[in-house]
């Protein structure tokens, strides 16, 4: 069944000019987000997940970032050709984003109600009364107890979980088509994480929002994602449906990530596997495959050229010489 592609990122390259030279945290990334579905982008810190999402939001070029090439198509329009004002109107209305730190993401001097109402003021011509009613309805939607009371409270009076709910309410206020969630549960307690994830899933089904879920937590991915993209040091190294990735990971890095998860079926008291080494510095990337220094399967060929994504099935691709050859054999 063909699904409508809502957001298409094509060969995106983003570079930053720094004092120590030019780095390319996103190096030719492509993925599609389907309407109403969830795409998870998985990877370690510094692999380019957040830069990718900020590019979609139009906040790069920032201080010294630059989009070198590629295209970001939303609903058939190339966002990279949009003017600053066009992009601003899109932000928060059609494409919204929440991120990791709910503790600091709300403005400390305004009440919760004010901050949600502000979103309506920015994007919808609404009277104060209407905005208030809409904001209240949003707080009810994100299941904040006693919403009328909370409307009048300040951020510091709320817990982390509550604040993240408020952030979700703000970002979904205008019913956006795409929600980018950049590690939205990382800073929360595990029990609260589960509640917030459930809430996001409910709202997604309710509103038909497409979600890009950025995380390093594979447990969360299994719970929320339809499709998964695995990133490593600015490259996409594997992509597939959530079943492809969890049942039959092709890339040694994905395999390593999965091995490093504790399994409830483990009865043998085995030690958890960790991936050796560190993510290479963007200033000093190895030749060839960027993962080769940490890879158990690495061969000489891996140091010579970078592997391209290769199809294993209609939905499943990975970029690794060794797996491709083994698969062909």
């Amino acid at each position: 069944m063909a699904q409508e592609v809502l957001l298409n990122v094509e060969n995106l390259v983003v570079s930053f000019d720094t004092d120590r030279g030019k780095i390319t945290p996103v190096n030719g990334v492509s993925f599609q987000v389907k309407r109403g579905k969830t795409l998870a982008i998985v990877g370690e810190s510094g692999c380019g997940k957040s830069v990718t999402s900020l590019s979609i939001m139009g906040l790069i070029p920032g201080a010294n970032g630059k989009i070198e090439g590629g295209a970001i198509e939303y609903d058939g329009q190339d966002l990279l050709k949009f003017s600053g004002t066009q992009m601003r109107k899109l932000r928060g209305d059609k494409i919204a984003m929440i991120f990791q730190e709910p503790m600091t993401a709300l403005n400390p001097v305004y009440t919760i109600g004010n901050q949600i109402m502000e979103v309506y003021k920015l994007h919808r011509e609404m009277s104060k009364k209407e905005a208030f009613d809409h904001a209240l309805a949003m707080l009810e939607k994100v299941k904040i107890p006693d919403p009328k009371q909370r409307m009048r409270e300040y951020p510091h009076q709320l817990s982390g979980g509550m604040r993240q709910r408020v952030m979700i309410a703000m970002s979904l206020a205008c019913n956006p088509d795409v929600l980018i969630a950049d590690e939205p549960t990382t800073a929360l307690d595990v029990t609260i994480q589960a509640q917030v994830l459930d809430l996001m899933k409910d709202l997604q089904t309710d509103l038909g929002t497409s979600v890009i879920f950025i995380t390093h937590d594979l447990g969360v991915v299994a719970e929320v994602a339809d499709d998964v993209v695995v990133m490593y040091a600015g490259d996409i190294i594997e992509r597939g449906t959530v079943f492809d990735i969890f049942k039959d990971p092709k890339h040694p890095y994905t395999q390593g990530l999965l091995d490093s998860l504790p399994k409830s079926s483990d009865t043998k008291n085995e030690e958890l596997q960790a991936i050796k080494g560190m993510v290479p510095s963007l200033f000093d990337l190895p030749q060839g495959c960027r993962f080769k220094d940490r890879c158990a399967l690495a061969e000489e060929a891996c140091g010579e050229s970078s592997p391209e994504l290769e199809k294993f099935s209609d939905t499943h691709e990975a970029a690794c010489f060794v797996t491709s050859r083994n698969n062909a054999a």
């Binding site: 932000r91 502000e118 920015l122 009371q149």
Partner: protein, 287 residues
């Protein structure tokens, strides 16, 4: 309990904090008394300080007009002090109302946009502060002509520098904060980010600086008038101190004593309230 918390706006909480300290409340009252005197002066309800109430240089005695004695022309020192209060307070507020808007606007724009705008603003205030304050004020007020208004314009056009630096630094810090990014991600424009998101977070600094600016302006007026620039009709504390230099040698201490006492209370009160405002309004110290 929770209802009570919810009804506490930030402003109201700051006010409660202020009123908890007895000294602050007393100083508040002192400031209000001075303000009322200034208001009476503006409405021409103060007794005429030019009128003779007795002989030349009568020492203090127990009638209202002569409680601080009389000056060389037999005018009441107290009435002169009251007229001086009006002058001082008007100068304080006039200077502040010139300096604070300039400081806030330039500081916010420089801090928020950075780059060329920041470069220009930094250049501008560096040039201004590189000339000694008094020389600069005297130079400007000579150009504009003597008198209270030109002196206020001179002080105001220099007095914004401190606040501008402060606001600029705060903006540099705050524009990287996540709540600003969050607002940007929700589609806020520059105007909204500067004036609605960041400015309310740094405004407490402006309020505190403004309260100290009033103080600074009052003191500067005294110095400038003493030096011969500024208020010329004798209705100022500065001119009274200036006159007192000759009088003191002859043993006429009361005009100077009167000025010093009057100045002491308002300056002390403004200092205490300025400090208390800093404590009460700083969001970091809330709760």
């Amino acid at each position: 309990m929770s209802t009570q918390v919810a009804n506490n706006s930030l402003g109201r909480r700051a006010l409660q904090k202020l009123l908890r300290q007895k000294l602050t409340v007393i100083c508040f009252v002192v400031i209000i008394i001075y303000l009322s005197i200034a208001l009476l002066g503006a409405l021409n309800l103060l007794p005429d300080f030019q009128a003779r109430v007795g002989e030349s240089y009568e020492p203090p005695s127990l009638s209202i007009a002569k409680i601080f004695g009389t000056d060389i022309f037999g005018r009441s020192v107290l009435f002169k002090l009251l007229a001086g209060t009006k002058t001082a307070i008007s100068i304080g507020f006039l200077v502040t109302s010139i300096a604070v808007p300039i400081g806030i606007t330039l500081g916010s724009l420089a801090g928020y946009y950075g780059g060329k705008i920041d470069g220009f603003v930094v250049w501008l205030f560096s040039v201004i502060v590189s000339v000694p304050y008094l020389l600069m004020v005297i130079a400007i007020s000579y150009v504009l002509g003597k008198g209270m208004l030109s002196m206020c314009i001179a002080m105001g056009s220099i007095g914004w520098v401190g606040l501008c630096r402060l606001i600029r630094a705060e903006f540099l810090k705050h524009k990287e904060r996540e709540y600003v990014l969050a607002a940007r991600l929700l589609g806020a424009n520059d105007y909204n980010l500067i004036f609605k998101q960041i400015l309310p977070n740094v405004l407490h600094l402006a309020i505190i600086t403004a309260s100290l600016q009033v103080l600074g302006a009052i003191k500067s007026e005294v110095i400038l008038t003493y030096l011969g620039v500024g208020v010329q009709d004798g209705s100022s504390w500065g001119s009274m101190i200036s006159d007192a230099t000759g009088e003191l040698v002859n043993g006429h201490w009361w005009p100077l004593a009167g000025v010093v006492i009057t100045m002491f209370f308002i300056i002390y009160a403004l200092n205490v309230v300025g400090d208390a405002l800093r404590d009460a309004l700083d969001p970091k110290l809330v709760d």
